[in-house]
């Protein structure tokens, strides 16, 4: 990457203010961080909704599907644990209910032959 491309890249990331616009480097970083946090939050909320939407049909899911959902719950838990306290309180409880149900249904199923 030559110098010109590096400069373009930094401008795109918001680290370097464009002449005439004058946002500080600090605010550029702030905007970028907020955007990333918002994106990350959106990401886990979508995944949360997708994972917990299957509780209604848990009884019809195969062992593999249930195992996959439990794994997704575990990965999601790590992401939610990084959120603020009240988000953790509400969503970890809900996530725990989803995970526990999938585990319950999985353990209730007769073993695969």
């Amino acid at each position: 990457m030559n110098r010109r491309n590096i400069a373009r890249f930094l401008v795109l990331l918001g680290f370097v203010p464009l002449p005439g616009f004058a946002p500080s480097i600090q605010s550029g970083i702030q905007v970028t961080l907020e955007a990333r946090q918002a994106f990350a939050q959106e990401g886990w909320r979508e995944e949360f909704d997708a994972v917990c939407a299957k509780t209604d049909i848990a009884m019809t899911l195969s062992r593999d599907e249930l195992t996959d959902l439990i794994g997704r719950c575990d990965r999601l838990k790590t992401r939610i644990e990084a959120e603020d306290e009240s988000t953790r309180k509400v969503y970890l409880r809900r996530l725990g209910m989803c995970r526990d149900l999938y585990r319950f249904v999985l353990e209730s199923k007769p073993p695969a032959r």
């Binding site: 009884m59 509400v90 209910m97």
Partner: protein, 226 residues
């Protein structure tokens, strides 16, 4: 059997988690006034309220941020957390708002609890509580198996457990596995003495859903009761 309060107080509770450490009076909550508008799953799943009063750490800041009660009590859906509304909930009065109980007149009747057959009211669409606060409501739960549960005493006929009547209000994860962690067939563990202590069916059927003193609702073939 635990004594049953008057119909207008059945299912009412006081949330007194911080009573004693703050100046704020316990918050009153009436199930009958809320369940007309929302199914149980909205609060006990979507909003994260535990089934036991005071087990959920609800804070004013969280309510104001749209969590817990604040999901609806936001000044748009219904009255919010402005100072003039504090005493509508934080009044320490279990019977607060009982004058509105007359709004339930005309709903299918029973002999116990709120004297309202909430299940029938829902089936007959006399009430249409929302099943979710989100734009996309959850799909209906297809699992509708009715269980016949042998009673612990020979002279008591079996209890009937219709999943459908429960999934109309709740979702599977509300009961399984936390309340009913049952993997084997059999009913030996569902002793009435444990139910009366608030386990199993007793989580709801002692204080909110129809009370277990209404034997026939679960044991339809029972001859003598009450």
């Amino acid at each position: 059997m635990p004594p049953e309060p008057p119909p207008e107080l059945y299912g009412n509770l006081l949330i007194r988690r911080t009573w004693g450490t703050s100046r704020v009076r316990p918050a009153t909550f009436s199930h009958w006034s809320h369940r007309r508008k929302y199914t149980c799953r909205v609060c006990h799943s979507e909003l994260g309220f535990a089934f036991r009063a005071d087990a959920t750490e609800i804070t004013e800041a969280e309510n104001k941020a749209g969590k817990y009660c604040g999901a609806c009590h936001n000044g748009r859906t219904v009255f919010g957390h402005e100072e003039e509304h504090c005493a509508k909930c934080h009044n320490g009065n279990l019977g607060y708002g009982k004058e509105k109980f007359s709004e339930l007149i005309g709903l299918p009747a029973t002999k116990s609890g709120n004297r309202v057959d909430w299940g029938r009211a829902l089936e007959e669409k006399r009430i249409t509580p929302a099943a979710s606060l989100s734009a996309e409501p959850p799909s209906d739960i297809a699992y509708d198996k009715t269980l016949t549960l042998t009673a612990e005493w020979a002279f008591v006929p079996p209890a009937i457990f219709p999943h459908k009547k429960h999934t109309d209000w709740l979702e599977c994860g509300n009961c399984h596995p936390e309340i009913f962690n049952v993997r084997k067939k059999g009913t030996k563990q569902f002793e009435m003495t444990r139910i009366l202590k608030g386990e199993f069916c007793g989580v709801c059927h002692l204080s909110v859903a129809f009370p277990i003193s209404d034997c026939k609702r679960c044991h339809p073939s029972i001859k003598r009761y009450q």
